[in-house]
Each structure stands twice: as structure tokens, then as C-alpha cells.
């Protein structure tokens, strides 16, 4: 269900339920209702679904998630060269069904 795409608020007009934003989805801009994200400001990112911003994206959580994902792997394989080699071999065969 529920195709939701992240975009950046570049302009805000109106108030209350009529609060509307221009949202830049990396190269295309669409008018989107900001009725449900009353605190969002220009420069913030939101997930947009069928013309409505349904949630503001939290950059700090995003960074934390990414840092965690990237670091964990590196540490794993640095500590265990054999695991790294095994992983490499699996990956080599990983593309075939």
C-alpha cells in the first residue's frame, strides 16, 4: 500500500488546514498539503503520500541509522577476516537465482 516519497519543503503558503507547500522531489516540484505537519518549515523533509505530507523526516535518526548500518559491517569484517572472505564468496554467487 502506500507509496510515500521523501521531498524537501521549499515554500509554504496558507494556514491551518489550507497550509500548502511546494515540495521538491529532487528535480520535480509539486504542491502538497501540509495540513498534517503543522510544525514543518522550509528546508525540512517530509514523506508525501497522495498529495499530503504525512510525516516529517527526522534527519538525526536518519543519520544515526546510516552510521549504524555502515559501521557495524566494517567492524564485523575487520575483526574477522575469514568471515569477510566467506561473505565475499557468497556475494560473488549472490546475483544468480
Amino acid at each position: 500500500m502506500c507509496l510515500g516519497i521523501p521531498g524537501k519543503v521549499i515554500e509554504i503558503t496558507g494556514e491551518g488546514f489550507m497550509r500548502t507547500g511546494k515540495i521538491d522531489f529532487d528535480g520535480i516540484v509539486k504542491d502538497v498539503s501540509l495540513a498534517y505537519v503543522p510544525e514543518i518549515e522550509v528546508g525540512d523533509y517530509a514523506i508525501v503520500h497522495v498529495g499530503f505530507a504525512i510525516t516529517q523526516l527526522d534527519e538525526r535518526s536518519a543519520q544515526e541509522t546510516l552510521t549504524l548500518l555502515r559501521q557495524l559491517d566494517v567492524v564485523d569484517e575487520e575483526l574477522d577476516p575469514e568471515a569477510a572472505l566467506a561473505a565475499e564468496q557468497r556475494r560473488a554467487g549472490g546475483g544468480t537465482p
Binding site: 502506500c2 488546514f17 549472490g94
Partner: protein, 367 residues
């Protein structure tokens, strides 16, 4: 930060797959509830990269698949009327009703328009005051704030020629129905990230506890999906069953409060029939008393509808994860993407269509 490419990094994804592989000591069955997640899994080939120890079952989280046949037939009847402009998300146009689909109604002269947002349908109503404009208000919790706002605005503006055919469905009751099934195989859920963006995930704690089933709130990009799968497998391996949020950048525990308030005003809970599954108590939303005047189902009495589901279709069992698509006797014979008997063979993320495509490939590659 673009919030997209970062979460598609193939190197990190492949490492996550390795970690999942190393972690799993036996075979686990996970269900991603959401059709959008299924789409992403298939589009990226994640199902082909996961180790055999993790089986992903594609859940009922796609309005195309679960909107009940009598509602589709009602939509077809309303859309056929000369005085109606029928607006819908593109998804619904090819969903088979008892006799035809919206495309065929359009071919027969029905004025059917694909819109991006329910507010676009409102605009069609403003622009066509001499026509009745009906919006097909389908979807899960994620779509409800938008549909609710359209109805709210129509009332505020006194837009009398606008109405909505509502068939909203809810995730938590569907999860319970799946877990209650005596033949259930699902051991952990990836909860639908955008549903939780709206509703939060408070409701899931009771389910996790009652059924001993891990539930991980999961996003849609490859790294999100793999993080969700990894967290679910970790819980299963450790014998834990709780709710985790693997989509923190977009989901707060309490959800989106203003959106929930609007939903509570415009909609009210009702029993809902799920196509192929049957009626699940308190699993849907209909317009609340205050907004009933905008209900297309009462505005356009379409008489008795005699629904006929193909007797060969086992979509319900597939949706609940108790039958694999290729276990259905009609699979690949009477039922193919070009001649779908049920909704699961229609959309590319429908479990049957996905199985069909891959089966065709492995057969061709083997010969």
C-alpha cells in the same frame, strides 16, 4: 541527505544479507504486510538474494488485492452512470469485478479519471458543478488522512456534487486475522512503515505480546527492508516477541496526531469484508454520521449486486500465507497476468503475478 539513495547502497545491503544469513539457525517465515514493501522487494530482487532460511510471505497490504468484490461492482455501476465523473487512483482501474473492470467501463463511455490525490477529485467537482463527482476512497491508514481531508473540505465548501465510495481497511485487525488462522505460518511481521507514520505503533504491542510474534516497523528502501528483516530474525532467534521501530526517521510511536484527529472526525470503525479473506470485525473505516451525506454508496443506490468470484481462485489463502501461489490449481493455467482470475494476479506486486514471472524465468533458464 536525500533520504533515498543513502538507503539503497548495494554494498551495505549485501552485507546486511550476509548478516541475516549468519544469524538464522533455522527457517523463519516473515510476512511483509504492505504491498509497497512487496513491490520494493521484487523490484530490487531482495527475495532472490535472501538466504533460504528466510521466507518472505507477501501480505494483504494492497488495496487492489483486498477491496471487496461487491465494492468494486458498486464502483463499476456508479462509474457507468451518465451523470457521474468517477475519479480513482490508477491502481484500481484494472481490478476485476464480477464482469468487467473500470477500464472496460471507460471503454463503454464512462467518464473515469485517474487522479493523484483525492483533492484533485475535489477540484474536478468544483469545475463540473453539473456533474456528480465520485471519488473511489480506497486504501489503508496511510491514505485515510488525505481522503478524510477531501470529505471535510467538501463539507466546509458545501460541495454538494462530491461524494466518496469508501472502502478503507486497517492493518492491525488483518494481522490478528492472519495469526488466528489455524493454518497460519507467519512467525514475524514487518509492519508497514507509512501506515505507522500516520497511526503510530502503540496498537501492535498487544498483538506482539498476545501471539508471541515479533513486529518490526519497516520502511521501503532496500536497507530499510533488510534492517527490518534482520531485526525480526534477531528477535525470533532470541525467542523474543516485541515491537521494534526500524523506520525511525519517519515513524513516531504516537503517529501523526493531527492526522489521527481528522480521521477520528470523518471516519468510524466498521466490519469490513476483505476480498478473498472474508469479513474481519472492526477492520475498516466508513464515513461517520456527520459526513454520511458524502457517502456515494447511499447517494447512488445501485440495487442488489450479485457478485461472482471465480470458484477457481484461492487468493484468500495466498494472502494469508497458507498457500503458495504455485500451489493453486489454476496457477499458470486458467489464471495468468493476461487472464487474471483474482486480484493477486493483476498488479505487479500481487503475490501470484510475482510468482508467475519468476517461475517463467526459472523454467526458461532450465530448459
Amino acid at each position: 541527505m536525500r533520504y533515498l539513495d543513502e538507503f539503497r547502497d548495494p554494498e551495505v545491503a549485501l552485507r546486511l544479507i550476509d548478516e541475516i544469513n549468519e544469524m538464522a539457525t533455522r527457517r523463519w517465515v516473515l510476512m511483509e504486510v504492505c504491498g509497497g514493501q512487496t513491490h520494493s522487494i521484487i523490484r530490487n530482487g531482495i527475495d532472490r538474494l535472501l538466504p533460504d532460511s528466510v521466507e518472505m510471505v507477501h501480505g494483504p497490504g494492497c488495496p487492489v488485492c483486498v477491496t471487496p468484490l461487491d465494492t468494486i461492482d458498486k464502483a463499476l455501476a456508479i462509474a457507468s452512470r451518465d451523470d457521474v465523473i468517477f475519479c480513482s487512483f490508477g491502481d484500481m482501474l484494472r481490478v476485476p469485478g464480477s464482469d468487467e473492470d473500470l477500464f472496460q467501463v471507460k471503454g463503454g463511455g464512462g467518464d473515469i479519471r485517474v487522479v493523484y490525490s483525492p483533492t484533485d477529485a475535489l477540484q474536478v467537482a468544483r469545475d463540473n458543478p453539473d456533474k456528480e463527482v465520485v471519488f473511489f476512497g480506497i486504501g489503508f491508514e496511510t491514505t485515510a488522512p488525505a481522503n478524510a481531508m477531501a470529505v471535510y473540505q467538501a463539507q466546509q465548501e458545501g460541495l454538494e456534487n462530491f461524494s466518496m465510495l469508501v472502502s478503507h481497511v486497517l492493518v492491525p485487525p488483518a494481522m490478528r486475522a492472519i495469526l488466528d488462522s489455524p493454518t497460519n505460518r507467519v512467525q514475524a511481521f514487518l509492519a508497514a512503515g507509512h501506515v505507522c507514520s500516520v497511526m503510530g505503533y502503540e496498537d501492535y504491542f498487544a498483538i506482539a505480546e498476545e501471539y508471541g510474534t515479533p513486529i518490526v516497523v519497516t520502511g521501503f528502501e532496500p536497507l530499510d527492508l533488510l534492517s527490518g528483516i534482520k531485526a525480526a530474525v534477531a528477535q525470533l532467534e532470541a525467542g523474543r516477541a516485541t515491537v521494534e521501530n526500524a523506520y525511525q526517521r519517519a515513524v513516531r510511536r504516537e503517529g501523526n496526531i493531527p492526522a489521527k484527529q481528522m480521521i477520528a472526525d470523518v471516519f468510524t470503525t466498521t466490519d469490513r469484508n476483505w476480498r478473498g479473506i472474508g469479513t474481519i470485525p472492526a477492520s475498516g473505516w466508513e464515513l461517520s454520521e456527520r459526513y454520511r451525506e458524502f457517502d456515494a454508496a447511499t447517494r447512488f443506490p445501485v440495487g442488489d449486486i450479485d457478485t461472482r468470484e471465480s470458484p477457481l481462485c484461492h487468493a484468500g489463502e495466498v494472502l494469508q500465507g497458507t498457500l503458495k501461489p504455485d500451489g493453486c490449481p489454476a496457477f499458470g493455467k486458467e489464471c495468468t497476468p493476461r487472464t487474471p482470475l483474482g486480484a493477486l494476479m493483476v498488479s505487479s506486486e500481487g503475490a501470484c503475478a510475482a510468482y508467475y514471472q519468476y517461475g517463467r524465468f526459472t523454467k526458461a533458464a532450465a530448459s
